[in-house]
């Protein structure tokens, strides 16, 4: 079975995808992931996820899929003019 591997590099950081590997089950996948992806203390925590269980957005639709965010600049703080003299905002 193909597993995708995610490693948390240090406390306080999110797990990030590092690659994949084959294993008969999740437990073996974890052990293999330790040997393949953390030989130099690259992580403090590992997730393994069966690749077949991941649902991904399609690259072909990415324009339409992400378009709703494009015209909403007011979601960014830089959109707003802060009047002079206002502190801590």
């Amino acid at each position: 079975m193909l597993f995708e591997v995610f490693v948390r590099p240090r406390r306080g950081l999110s797990h990030a995808h590092v690659g994949s590997l084959h294993a008969p089950d999740a437990e073996m996948a974890l052990r293999n992931a330790r040997d393949v992806y953390t030989r130099r203390q690259e992580g403090v925590s590992i997730w393994v996820v069966p690749a077949a269980e991941i649902t991904a957005s399609s690259p072909d639709e990415k324009d339409a899929f992400f378009a709703p965010a494009a015209d909403k600049v007011y979601r960014h703080p830089t959109f707003y003019d802060v009047p002079e003299g206002a502190h801590h905002i």
Binding site: L2, G19, S20, L21, H22, A23, P24, D25, M28, D35, V36, R39, R40, A56, S58, P59, D60, D63
Partner: protein, 339 residues
Amino acid sequence: MYGNDFAPLLEQVDSAERDLQQAAGRDVAAGTDLQGYFDTIVAADQKIEPRDWMPEAYRKTLIRQIAQHAHSEIIGMQPEGNWISRAPSLKRKAILLAKVQDEAGHGLYLYAAAETLGVSRDELVEMLIDGRQKYSSIFNYPTLTWADVGAIGWLVDGAAIVNQVPLCRCSYGPYARAMIRVCKEESFHQRQGFEILHTLSHGTPEQKAMAQDAVDRWWYPSLAMFGPPDTDSTHSERSMAWKIKRFSNDELRQRFVDMCVQQAEVLDLRIPDPELRWDEERGHYAFTQPDYDELMRVIKGDGPCNQERMAHRRRAHEDGAWVREAAQAYAGKRAKSAV
């Protein structure tokens, strides 16, 4: 070129990693048609990712190149593994074990990258074992003495690094990321080889002679690792246009020679080339080309160790079958009892 060619290896890798992140932040006005989108992303030095559209030939080229690279890492464990049981000290043995384990790891990163292109691991393993896909011809040479372990680290890993650092900038994301990881780890490999040779070369006259003999035997095969000369290189131009490849075989070979000359002085070992001299006009060392007929013969299967390497790999694969089956059966049993 990317800044100073002689920047320390790890700096070059870091700079490739920084550029990767920087390029990703750039806004690219990519067209809507598939080929146009692909071309724009490649032109902007951004990365093509597994589910993006790509030309079929790009996919095939990458599968061939990444698979061959992965196979080389796996077969590459054999020549050095040969010396694990005879390493001269416990320290050297622990280091060599870690290095050979790294080669296995590199093979696995690369197989994982190849699989993102739609080829299965089983297929890749089959293609190595039945000879449909190749591995680097360098691993068909024998490791006759302990000094060979040093020469492999210094010259073979050194040549591999010169080849691989530009691959950290390859246009295919999973390959570029795997190479960044590989290169960071290779740097230890090259240094441990250099240290072995330096220790031997500053030891007894016999030890020094052993180091020189190893360098004499590994020098030309290492030069051949960069492949045939540009005039005979078949896939280069297209791979360059796709930014899979960044420099030609001859450019990389020259870079390697230029680096080695000074390092050989520090080692106090001689590079076995009577024609080696500084060419003022070109700003590079002039050197004798490796024997490309020999390279072709070794690639075709007629090197000193081709049969041994393949037989060993096949045997290891077959001998491991019961382990894979047992693990599978155990996983199946546990899944059933969990229901």
